[in-house]
């Protein structure tokens, strides 16, 4: 469905001299440096997948999406989407994809939603029957009928997003690209949009590529994630695998009923203590959650207990802060895996 091979995009960034004299000099000599926005990235996505394309700001997520949608011409490497090369067969590609940018609407600002939709019907030459069916379905799922006659500029962010996503699906595209689709939305609006994306994916087998900052989006929607950092691909695999790889440690929080002098538990570290609230850090490989809770209940009286799985965002952050690349982490994980296997054998 989507094939990306050694895809790279470099930008020339001109250095601007400051001040009046500087801007005059800029006219004649402009020094530039080359910025690698995307650096030999390869992956392939099958029909019906929902893939989260993640990375910190400026990692190259949007640039990749823009090359997949035919907005930018790659500097080198190959891309095909539905068998089309997006930047060469832009129009053909456009007929088979839907694109939504969270940051700006692709609808006509001063037109009511309905007229924007009708304009899209003309542009994509959508048969009337299909158009009616889609509008009916999107109204049922996203309740767009409520603001169907309101000009796009007057919509709330949540309404605009719903209208945008519905509009991007009017022509029954096989692939849907969503660039930060839930940015700035409240919890309810986010949930609604996630549910809709899920439904579209299961009912119509639409392939979804999603970039987001919101890891809830990823957890709710994506089985597979592709992680890029500093323009390079650093992980491609199941979300579960990424999580397992990163979250070898968990946190157990306990509120004790009484104050105890010695609350240490073997195979755990106390990371936080305030009054009767204590947090233990433990690794499920050394002691299972059940065993740990059992050990605590045996010795102490408790009021409340909970286990936190660290969310990916934090884990990714620790990866960056530790200045470890994920590759290193992988190597370590493999090593552990190997020793475990050996010891088991």
């Amino acid at each position: 469905m989507i094939e990306v091979e050694n895809l790279s995009k470099t930008f020339k960034v001109y250095r601007h001299r400051k001040g009046f004299f500087g801007s005059f000099v800029n006219l004649f000599s402009r020094k530039h440096r080359i910025v690698h926005a995307v650096d030999s990235v390869s992956f392939s996505i099958q029909r019906g997948e929902v893939v989260g394309y993640l990375g910190p700001n400026g990692a190259g997520k949007s640039t990749t999406i823009k090359m997949l949608t035919g907005i930018l011409v790659p500097t080198s490497g190959g891309v095909t989407v539905n068998g089309y090369i997006p930047h060469r067969q832009r129009k053909e590609n456009a007929k088979h994809i839907g694109v939504v940018f969270g940051q700006r609407s692709h609808l006509w600002f001063d037109l009511p939603v309905q007229e924007s939709f009708e304009l899209l019907q003309r542009i994509y030459r959508i048969p009337q029957v299909q158009y009616n069916q889609n509008v009916e379905m999107f109204d049922a799922l996203l309740n767009i009928g409520k603001f169907f006659r309101t000009p796009v500029r007057q919509l709330s962010l949540g309404q605009r997003m719903r209208a945008d996503i519905a509009a991007a699906l009017l022509h029954n595209p096989e692939v849907l690209f969503l660039d930060e689709p839930t940015i700035g939305l409240d919890v309810v609006a986010k949930a609604r949009i996630r549910e809709f994306i899920q439904q579209i994916n299961t009912e119509r087998q639409v392939t979804v590529v999603l970039t987001t900052h919101d890891l809830d989006d990823v957890e709710k929607l994506c089985k597979r994630v592709i992680l890029i950092d500093k323009a390079r691909l650093c992980f491609d695999g199941e979300l579960v695998a990424l999580r397992r790889l990163l979250s070898t440690e968990r946190i157990l929080s306990v509120d004790y009923a009484e104050t105890y002098s010695d609350i240490s538990i073997p195979k755990t570290n106390i990371t936080y203590q305030e009054g009767n609230r204590v947090q233990y850090r433990f690794s499920p490989e050394e002691i299972s959650t059940a065993d740990l809770i059992g050990a605590i209940l045996q010795k102490f009286k408790i009021v409340d207990i909970s286990v936190q799985e660290p969310d990916i965002e934090e884990l990714i952050k620790t990866v960056y802060e530790d200045n470890l690349t994920l590759e290193q982490k992988f190597a370590e994980a493999d090593a552990i895996d190997l020793t475990n296997r050996k010891s088991m054998g």
Binding site: T69, I71, L72, V73, R90, K91, L111
Partner: protein, 266 residues
């Protein structure tokens, strides 16, 4: 057929949304027409003193003025999308155009339609009519056809200038101001017979930026001044093609420019 009906639909929507601000629309219409009237009044004043300019009478110059005015007004009306294109690039709206299964040139072209240029158009057209009534041009089918082709060609010429300005945005983000010298300056320059200008200047505006080909040469032909001007009559017959060629070349430039679009952000 698809493109035509789509274009007309866009125009319909644009006109309707501009009509919503009725007062501002009517006000604009009048202010434009009156500015243009004053504009021509200045030329008339000049002739009140000098009677003629390089062998051209007031109404002959009026004819030139009317022709170029009509072309420019129509170009601004339909080519507005290219004229204001830098806004699209700055805002990143061009991304949206690239995700649609329609040509980029067509989309930018149909993006806007500035109805209020009707004011300027009608003023120029009225002066063209008055000039014609004051002159004794012997009209024939050939001449009417030739005039129409010249007007369309002149419109294409100005749209071509807008396209060059718009295309430059792919590199500079901001439209290059120099284009205004050719658009607004072109209208001014084209309002006077080219024979008053210097040699190199005439050549530049004939062969590089073919302003003379869509205005001065056609006027020579229509007023039967070709022999007295010393311009080759073969050239004058072919001159109106230049506007179409010019637009064609700028369209190629546009296609090349689109490939260099960098979008905003990374």
């Amino acid at each position: 057929m698809y493109h035509l009906s789509l274009y007309l639909h866009f125009v319909k929507l644009r006109i309707r949304s501009q009509m919503e601000y009725r007062f501002s629309f009517v006000f604009d219409l009048f202010s434009q027409a009156s500015i243009a009237v004053i504009d021509f009044f200045m030329i008339a004043l000049l002739f009140n003193r000098f009677k003629e300019l390089a062998g051209w009478s007031l109404w002959e110059v009026g004819f030139l003025y009317g022709m170029i005015g009509v072309c420019f007004a129509v170009a601004e009306m339909v080519g507005r999308g290219f004229d204001v294109f830098q806004n699209s690039v700055v805002r990143g709206d061009f991304d949206t155009i690239l995700i649609r299964p329609v040509g980029t040139f067509f989309q930018v072209f149909s993006h806007d339609f500035l109805l209020r240029r009707v004011g300027r158009f009608s003023q120029a057209f009225v002066i063209l009519l008055i000039a014609n009534s004051q002159l004794t041009i012997s009209w024939s089918f050939v001449k009417v056809g030739y005039l129409l082709v010249s007007l369309v060609s002149g419109t294409c010429f100005f749209i071509g200038l807008f396209v060059i300005g718009a295309t430059s945005c792919f590199w500079t983000i901001q439209s290059i101001e120099i284009i205004n010298i050719f658009t607004n300056g072109g209208v001014f320059m084209g309002s006077y017979p080219f024979s008053i200008y210097r040699h190199w200047f005439r050549h530049f505006f004939t062969f590089i930026v073919p302003l003379a080909c869509v205005n001065y040469f056609p006027a020579l032909f229509l007023m039967e001044k070709v022999t007295s001007s010393g311009v080759s009559s073969f050239g004058v017959h072919l001159a109106p093609i230049a506007g179409f060629l010019f637009l064609g070349i700028t369209m190629l430039f546009w296609r090349w420019g689109v490939l260099h679009y960098q979008s905003t952000g990374h």
